[in-house]
C-alpha cells in the first residue's frame, strides 16, 4: 500500500514536471506596419536623378541620392514582371527588382524610399529604368533579390495615386515629364479591329500585343498588352470611357501600359454611336460555302464571323514550306488553308476571326488570307488535340478534288487516310511519289528536305494519312511526319 502511494505521488510529480516544462509554439501576428513611415531624409527628386542618364548607355549613380516615390504599377496581374513603376511629383520610372510577387511588398500606393547610389539608369526601347549592373548589350540587370532591401525601403501603404488627366494629343511628346507616370484619358475607345479580341495573344506567339485606342477627335495611340497578364484572354470591350495607364514608349512609339482590367472602364457609347457586335462562330463548311458557285477565281471579303478548328498541318515536321501556312479542320469534317499566321503546332485548337479577311482561290484551292487593314490572327485554345482521318479510296479522293466547284469539295484540306497503297518513285520520300491503292493513283508530295530526303519509302503496301490537297490542277496528298502518317 505504502508502495502504491509512493508510486502515485511519484507519477503525479513526474506528470507535473512534464506538463509544466512546456514547449511553447503559439505565435502572435507581427505588428501592422502599413502606416509606418521611417521618414528618411530625401535629398533629390526623381526628375533630378533621371537627368543623370546620358540618354544612350547605362549610367551608374555614384552620388548618395535618396528619393521618395509611390508605387504606381506592380506585378499583381502579371502585366508587369520583375518590375514596378514608381513616381514622385516630378517624374516616373521603372524599377527592376529581381523577384516575382513584388506586389506583396510593393503594392500600388505604397510609399518607397530609394537609395540610388550604386544603381544604374538605363532604358529598354528608350523607356527609362532604374536597375543594376548592365550586361554587354547595355541591358540593365535586376536588383538581385537579396539586396533589394539595401536600396528600396518600404514606408506606408494605401496612398491614393491620382492619375494626371490628359488627352491622346497630349501624349505625342516622347520626352515629356509624363513619361513613366500614371495618366488618365477620360474618353477613349479601342479601334473596331481590336474590339472583342483578347487583350493579348498567347505568350508563346508573342510576349505582348499592340492594341490601339482612339478618341472622337481622331487621335489614336498604342496600348501594349502583356501576354503574361492573367487577363490576357479576356475580351477587349467595345464601349468608350476612361483608361488609366502608365505612359511609356518603345523607341519612337508612344504607348500605354495598363496594370489590370480595372484601368479600362469603357462602358459608354462609342464615338458616333457606332455599335460593334461580336463575330458569329461558323463552321468551316459554312465558310467554304460562302465561295460562289463558280470555278473562277474571286476574292470574297468576309464579314463579322469567326471559325474554329484543330491544326492538322505541322510546320515543325518540315513538310509545310512556310511557317505562316496552316491547315485547320473542324467538327463539320471540312478543312481550310489559312495563310498568314505563325506559331501554331499540330494539334493546336484555335479560333480565327474573319472580319475583313479574304476567302480566295490560290493555286487551285480555297484559302483564307489577310484582308487590307484587317487582322488575321489565331487564338490558341489548347494543344494536343487529334483529328481522326477519313478513310477513303484514291478514286474517291481524286473525284472529289477534281470537282470544279471549290465549295463542293469535301476532302480538300482535310485529313484523309488511304489504305494498302504501294509507293512508286525515287525510293525516298522527298518529291513526288505515286500512290496506288488499286482504285487509282495520286501524287504524294513531300518537301525536298531532311528527313524526307534521307528516309526511304516502304516497299510493301502501307496506310498513308495526309492532307488532301489540290495543287493547281493536280490532286495531291501531303503527309506530316513519316512515323505518324505512314504505317
Amino acid at each position: 500500500m505504502k508502495k502504491m502511494i509512493l508510486l502515485g505521488a511519484l507519477s503525479i510529480s513526474i506528470l507535473t514536471i512534464a506538463f509544466t516544462s512546456c514547449v511553447k509554439q503559439k505565435f502572435d501576428s507581427p505588428p501592422d506596419l502599413s502606416t509606418y513611415d521611417p521618414n528618411l531624409t530625401v535629398n533629390a527628386t526623381l526628375k533630378q536623378v533621371k537627368s543623370l542618364y546620358n540618354g544612350s548607355t547605362p549610367t551608374l549613380i555614384d552620388s548618395d541620392y535618396t528619393i521618395a516615390a509611390y508605387v504606381i504599377a506592380d506585378d499583381r496581374s502579371g502585366s508587369f514582371y520583375k518590375q514596378i513603376v514608381v513616381q514622385d511629383s516630378t517624374a516616373g520610372i521603372v524599377v527592376l527588382l529581381g523577384r516575382s510577387g513584388l506586389y506583396t511588398d510593393y503594392p500600388i500606393g505604397r510609399k518607397l524610399y530609394i537609395h540610388c547610389k550604386g544603381l544604374y539608369l538605363g532604358a529598354y526601347g528608350k523607356f527609362m529604368q532604374l536597375g543594376y549592373t548592365p550586361d554587354n548589350t547595355n541591358a540593365l540587370s535586376d536588383i538581385p533579390a537579396a539586396v533589394i532591401g539595401k536600396h528600396v525601403v518600404k514606408a506606408n501603404t494605401g496612398n491614393t495615386i491620382v492619375p494626371i488627366k490628359v488627352n491622346i494629343a497630349d501624349l505625342k511628346s516622347l520626352n515629356s515629364d509624363l513619361m513613366g507616370r500614371l495618366i488618365q484619358i477620360d474618353s477613349a475607345e479601342f479601334v473596331a479591329n481590336d474590339v472583342n479580341q483578347p487583350y493579348a495573344q498567347d505568350p508563346n506567339i508573342a510576349s505582348g500585343t499592340d492594341r490601339t485606342i482612339e478618341d472622337c477627335a481622331g487621335d489614336n495611340m498604342v496600348v501594349r498588352m502583356s501576354g503574361y497578364a492573367n487577363f490576357r484572354n479576356e475580351l477587349i470591350p467595345a464601349g468608350k470611357g476612361p483608361i488609366t495607364a502608365v505612359f511609356s514608349r518603345y523607341n519612337s512609339t508612344a504607348q500605354l501600359l495598363i496594370r489590370d482590367t480595372f484601368d479600362i472602364r469603357m462602358n459608354n457609347t462609342r464615338c458616333g454611336g457606332v455599335i460593334i457586335t461580336p463575330p458569329v462562330d461558323i463552321t468551316i463548311d459554312s465558310l467554304r460555302k460562302m465561295y460562289p458557285d463558280t470555278s473562277s477565281t474571286q476574292n470574297i471579303v468576309l464579314g463579322n464571323q469567326m471559325i474554329h478548328g484543330t491544326v492538322i498541318s505541322s510546320y515543325a515536321d518540315s513538310n509545310i514550306s512556310q511557317a505562316t501556312s496552316l491547315y485547320i479542320q473542324d467538327e463539320s469534317g471540312r478543312g481550310i488553308n489559312v495563310y498568314g499566321i505563325s506559331g501554331l503546332a499540330l494539334g493546336d485548337s484555335v479560333t480565327i476571326k474573319l472580319s475583313g479577311n479574304l476567302l480566295i482561290v490560290y493555286n487551285g484551292a480555297l484559302e483564307v488570307k489577310k484582308g487590307t487593314g484587317a487582322t488575321l490572327a489565331a487564338t490558341k485554345i489548347s494543344g494536343g488535340k487529334t483529328v481522326t482521318p477519313i478513310m477513303l479510296s484514291i478514286a474517291d479522293l481524286n473525284a472529289d478534288l477534281n470537282n470544279p466547284l471549290f465549295k463542293a469539295r469535301k476532302y480538300e484540306s482535310v485529313l484523309v487516310k488511304l489504305s494498302a497503297v504501294t509507293i512508286t518513285g525515287s525510293g525516298f520520300f522527298a518529291g513526288n511519289n505515286t500512290l496506288n491503292d488499286g482504285t487509282g493513283t495520286i501524287i504524294m508530295y513531300t518537301r525536298n528536305t531532311i528527313p524526307f530526303t534521307t528516309t526511304p519509302t516502304p516497299t510493301t503496301p502501307v496506310n498513308i494519312t495526309g492532307i488532301g490537297i489540290k495543287y493547281k490542277t493536280t490532286p495531291e496528298i501531303y503527309i506530316r511526319k513519316v512515323s505518324l502518317d505512314v504505317q
Binding site: 508510486l7 511519484l10 507519477s11 513526474i14 506528470l15 514536471i17 512534464a18 516544462s21 514547449v23 511553447k24 509554439q25 505565435f27 502572435d28 501576428s29 507581427p30 505588428p31 501592422d32 506596419l33 502599413s34 499583381r76 529581381g98 523577384r99 516575382s100 510577387g101 513584388l102 506586389y103 506583396t104 511588398d105 503594392p107 500600388i108 500606393g109 505604397r110 543594376y132 549592373t133 550586361d135 540587370s141 538581385p144 533579390a145 537579396a146 539586396v147 532591401g149 539595401k150 501603404t157 494605401g158 492573367n230 487577363f231 490576357r232 484572354n233 479576356e234 490558341k380 485554345i381 489548347s382 494536343g384
Partner: protein, 918 residues
Amino acid sequence: MKQFLTCFLLFVCPSVYAQLATLSGKIIHADTKLPYAEVTILLKDMKMITTSDAAGNYQFGGVPMGTHELQYSADDAIDETVKIEVAKSNVMIDIVELKVLAGSGLGNTTDQSGASVEDASSEDESANTSAGQNVSSVLNASRDAFLSASTFGWGQYFFRMRGYENDNNTLYLNGVPLNDLEEGGVFYNSWSGLNDVFRGRTVTLGLAPGECLFGGLGLNTSLDASASNQRKGTKLTYTATNRSYRNRIMLTHSSGLQKNGWAYSFSFSRRWANEGPVKGTFYDAWGYYGAIEKRFKKQGISFMVVGAPIKRGKSGPATAEVFDIAGSHYYNPYWGYQDGKVRNSRVLTTHSPLFIFSHDAKLGANTQITSAISYQAGETAQTGIDWQNAADPRPDYYRYLPSYVEDANDRQEVYDYLKANPNMLQIKWDSLYEANRNNLNAGYGKAAYILNAAVENAHRLNAAVNLKSQVDDHTTLQAGVNFQTQNNHNFLRIEDMLGGGYWENINQFAARTFGGIIKDADKLNLLDKDIRRYKGDTYGYDYNIHFTKANWFAQGMFTYNKVDFFVATELGFTNFYRVGNYQSGLYTSNSYGRSSTNTFFTPKAKGGLTYKINGRNYLYANGAIGQRAPFVDNVIISPRTRNEQIANAETEKFSSAELGYLLRSPNVKVRVTAYATQVKGASDIRRFYRDDDYSFVSMSLQGINKQYTGLELGAEVKISPSLTASFAGSFAQAFYTSRPYVNIYSDNEVGTQNTTLSGSPDTVYMKNYYVPSGPQTAMQLALNYRSKTYWYGTLSGNYMGNNWMDFAPTARTKDGVDNLVYGSDAWHNVIDQRKPPNVITVDLNFGKSFKVDKYIHKASNQTFLLLNVGITNLLNNRNINLYGFENLRVNTVNPAWFAPKYAYALGAQYFINLSLRF
C-alpha cells in the same frame, strides 16, 4: 478443432504425441562465482517463468523437445540469453554466469540506440531522395558484435544493413506484422521514447529462419512488449543530452508475472527541447504504454496500448553554397523570426495509438498457437508554407542566391551582403504577414501566403495467427496466416492564415496555362461549392489509398547432430487502389472516385543448412527467391491529382544467397557472412518541377535491376575477464545493373491518360551506379571494460566510407547531357556519382551503479541508482555528410542553380542518464 486448426495452418497434421522434458540449471555471479538468487528465468517461446533459489538453482518441467531460448534477468545484472536444445527428457543446462553491473537493462546501448532512432527519423527530410528515409536502428540489438556496431556505431550515420532499403526489414510486435503497407518500411515513431518496455526482442539478419514470419532480406525483428515480459519493479529515469531533445524523463512500473497469473505494466516518457542543437528546431515528444496480461494454465491473453504524441520542428538540407554563406553545416532553412521570435515552418506532428489484443494457447503438449489482432489509427501532419501569385518564401530559393546573379561583382556583393545579414537566409515571417495584410488593405481578401499541413490519416487493422509445433525430436513446423488492411487519407489542411483573408482552392499551374481558355481547368475540385478556404479547411488534394495484404507462411526446421536445415515458404497477396475525393478540372474523368485495383501475387521460398563442425564451429548457407509487390507510390503516377497508373506494373523479383562461418568459444566469437542478392524489375516514380513544362511532373523508372554483394564480419575477443575487444566490418557493394526506361507525365495537361510527354520511353544510363544506401564500407573497433566495482566503459572507433550519394536520373539521360561536350569536365560534373569524404568517429560510454542502501539505510536492498554517461562523435567532426541528393531539376547551362543538397551529422553529443530503480 485443435487438430483442424493445426492442419489448416500447416497443411500437414503433425503428431500430437511427443515427449516432455525437465530442464534444470544453476546461476552464479560472474565475478564472485557465488550462487545468484532471485534471478528471473524466462523460457521465451513457452512463456514459462521461474526464479532461482538461494543456491542459484532453478527448474522447468513439461518442456517440449526442440530449440528454446532462456532469458536470465536480475535487477542488478545484464540480461543473458542462452539458446538450448532439448533432445532428451532430463536436460542439465550449463552453469550461467551473470555479470553484475550498472546500467543493466537500461544500459548505454539502450539509450544510445533510442536517440539514434530519433536522430535518424528527425533527419528523414524530403521525399525526393531515396536515401534519408532509413531508420535502420533497432532499439536494442542483440549482443552480436556486427549487429551492435551497425546499430550503435553506424546506424546514426544512415548505415543500411547490406545496403537494402528500409522495406526489406520486417517487424513483428506481439505477433502482428507492423510494416507500413504504403511505404513498406518499419517505423518506430509509434512507440519512440518507451525504451524501457520495448527491450524484449529477437533479431535475425538476412536469410536465417524467422521466429514467426518469413521475413525480409534484411533485418527481421520480433518484439515482445507484453506485460509478463516486463521486468518487475519501478524505474525512474532522467536524461540530459544535446541531441534532438535536451531532457527526457521516463517512468515505468511493471508487476511482473504475479502468482495469480496477472501481469500489468505501464510506462510514460517525455522528451523535450525548446531548441535543439540545430537552430529553429524544437522537440516535444510524449510516450505512453499500458499492458495487461492474464496467464491461465494452458493459455494466456494480453492487451496492450501504446502511443507517442510527437511534435517537433525540423531541419532541412541545403546546398554547399548556402552552407558556405551561413558559415555552418547546421544551417536550417526552415525557420525565421516572427516578431523577433524563432518560428519553424516545418513542424511535424504525429500520434498513432496502437492497440494489440493477443492470445496464445498450447494445443497439446508440443503445439502452440498464438493469435493477435491490432488496430492503429492516427494522424501525421507536416506543416509548410504555401503561396499563390507571390514570391517563393523559401529563403534558400535559388533565385535569391549569389549563383543566380550574372555579373561577377554583383554576385560578390550579394554574397557579402548575405554573409553580413544572416537573417536574409531565414524565413521572413513578418513579410508574409505583411503581404497578406497589404492584400487585405488593398481590398483583396485573397491570401498570398498560408501555413498548411500535409496530412496523412491512417487506419490499420492487422491480424495474425501463428502455429508452432514440435513434431518430433528433430522437426519443428511453423505456420501462420496474417491479414493486413490499411486506409490512408491524404490531404492538405490550412493551419494558419498568416493574417490573410481566405485562400483559393485553385491550381496555379493550370491557371497559368489554361486560365480563361478552358473553363474550370484551374479548379482543383469541380465539386467545390466555394473555392474559398479558411483555417482548418482541406484544400489542394484529397484522396484515399486502400491496401490489403494477406500471407500464408510455413516453415520446417530440422535439427540433427551434425546438420540443421530449414525450408520456408510464403504465399502472399497484395492489392491497392486509390479513391479520389476531388474532381480535378484538368482530369475530369479519372480523378474522382475509385481507380482500378492493382493485385499482385507474391510467392517466396527460402531454405538453409547449418553444418556443425563441432560445438564451436559452424558453417551455414542460406538461399531465398521470391517476388515482392511494388509500392503504390511507384504505380500510381500522381496520386495527388488522378488515378492514372504506369503501364505494365510488375512485381519485383529477388534472389539472394548467403554463406557464413560462426565460431563460438568462451573467449572468441566470430561471425563472417558473404552474401549476394539480385533484385529485378523494380520500379520507382520521382516527382519534381520541370521547367520545360512549367509544371510538376512524375517520372516513372521501370526495369530497375540491382545487385547487392558484400562481406560482414563480427569478432569479439575476451582479453581478460573484464576486458573485451571487438571488431566489426561491412564491405558492401550495392549497385544498379540495368538501364531503366523512363516516362515523364505532366501534372498540367487536360484529360490525358497514359500519355507521356516524351511520347516514347527514354533511357536512364545508370548501370553500375551505386545504390544510395549509406556507407557501403564500415568498420568498428571497440574496447569494453567491465569492472568488478560496478562500473564499465566502452571506447569505440568507427570508419565509414563509400557513402555514394543519391543521383538524379534526369541528368543521366540524353537530354540531361545535351549541350555538354562528351567527356569534358562539365560532362563529368553532371553525370559522375558523388561521394562525400570518408568519416572517422570515436564514441565513449561510461556507466556505474550504486546500491542505494549502502548510503541510505532505510532504502530496500533492491534499490539501485544507475548512471550512464556517453559521448558520441568525441572528435567533434562537424563535416560528416549524413546524406545528400541531387536536384531532379536539371539545367545544364547553369548547374549551380540546382546544386545537390546535403545534410550533416551533429558534432560531439553527450548524454547523462540517471535512473533510480526500486
